[in-house]
Symmetry: C3
Subunit: 203 residues, 3 copies
């Protein structure tokens, strides 16, 4: 089941890459590269940081196939993508939850400190989008508006808190993943944002 | 002979870096760094992705010497570089062909899937230019105009098709490298581009 | 004592990251990420290039704690940072001197050529700022104005020259670090810059 969730997340990330790349009027291969980077960029940076090479997408072909198929479909049906906006947002959010916990566990396998593991989870989930925005010459969205990183960090903390209790690994995985997903959903639905550090300058 | 070709490619890449950096009015070290990144950036990313560290240019001093000499020459004779435009374009194209096949073979040595090897070849040939453009705060040229990546991917495919036939390794190397070079040359000469995905919006 | 100097340098780098991120009006986590990247980005790139993984900040928690505390303090006392401008500049300069020599020694430990070691020192000292500027969508400052890289390269050269003489390792370390620091200080005080390559176009 985790595998299916991971595929859905990969699909959502690659389509979000396609959408940004098309807004920049890139050509076919530009779009493919951006889709690829958005999907696997975070995990790639994580793997390079901990020395887990060749990086994951080079040894597990699932990523390549899923990204190729979903990007090409997204390019072909680009005029219909608007109808999928809500599903894509959901997939994307689920993908972030899953990627966060995968990143945390990779850190644990490398015997790293919990804070570093949470950072690795956040990198896995968020840095694909950061690299996408850099390649598209924009200031990464994550630094300015979304509650993205906050959700990942919260989920990572929950993961380590739950690990102290005698519940199975699978439950820890699922509950902390759900925390990421729900935090993001609630933040978007209720338009919650971090306190504005700059308000005093505006007044 | 391959070694001479590799040096010519390195020269061309570093001079292309010098030209971009001077257009951005960078200072001496800025220019050197951009020349360096343009030449070895793609191979560096490839090496980090597959865990081939220390990366190639750190253990083979040829790159450093060639880039230093050619960049300094390019800075000194900067007003004459225009006369070399055609030679530089040829060197650059040859370099791309060679870098692509080198990247493909590094992937094979790491036992990676053919699609991943082709991706590594394309990364080796193209990502120096991508990193250069990011450092110069421009949207990477490759994503918008050139048939660059297409040529590399085509050459990579030819490499694997030819490998199925009983011809020597050297021939496979040379023919597939030539495919990259000729694809790019023909595309530029006949102004071939990928189909425009956005034409419907213009009408 | 080196450890205290390293902490001061990390503090200065992270606060410089906070200042840039706040100028871009980033949110809380954006600021933290930029502070982190500015402090450890150079060392991280160095570690990934030579294959020293997991990278340093993942195994030595000092960096994480120092960056978290100093960034949060900087955000809280943001209106008072102006009074610290001179101290911060001094810390930053000291940090660059120290980071340069640390980078050079990491290269030596990996048996790399002196030129490559000097490059690694420069990368350690300067690339945190480069990555910060890329993330903030600006052309890296270092490529355009400062005598930053020059100071690092000079210090690296002094390191290798002194190593030829029968003086203790600690002295080599300290003297070459001081060369970096003094070069930068003198350059800023006397407004020394590299010769302008573009003056002929202006005239």
């Amino acid at each position: 089941m985790f595998y299916i969730v991971e595929i859905l997340g990969t699909v959502a990330f690659s389509i979000s890459g396609v959408l940004v790349a098309m807004k920049m009027r890139m050509d076919f291969f530009g779009i493919l590269i951006i889709a690829f980077v958005t999907s696997v960029g975070g995990g790639t940076l994580r793997d390079m940081l901990i020395g887990n090479t060749p990086v994951t997408w080079m040894t597990d072909m699932m990523y390549t196939y899923v990204i190729l198929v979903s990007s090409i479909m997204a390019i072909i049906f680009r005029s219909k993508l608007n109808y999928l906006r809500t599903s894509l947002f959901l997939f994307d959010t689920i993908g972030i939850g899953l990627y966060t916990i995968i990143g945390v566990e990779k850190g644990l396998n490398a015997n790293l400190h919990p804070i570093i593991c949470i950072a690795l989870g956040t990198i896995t989930a968020c840095f694909g989008g950061v690299i996408r925005d850099i390649l598209c010459n924009e200031i990464p969205v994550i630094f300015r508006k979304e509650i993205y990183a906050t959700a990942c960090i919260l989920g990572g903390i929950v993961y380590f808190v739950l690990s102290e209790f005698p519940i199975g690994n699978n439950w820890v995985f699922m509950i902390s993943g759900l925390v990421v997903i729900l935090t993001r959903l609630l933040a978007v639905i209720f338009k919650i944002a971090l306190p504005d550090l700059y308000s005093e300058k505006k007044g």
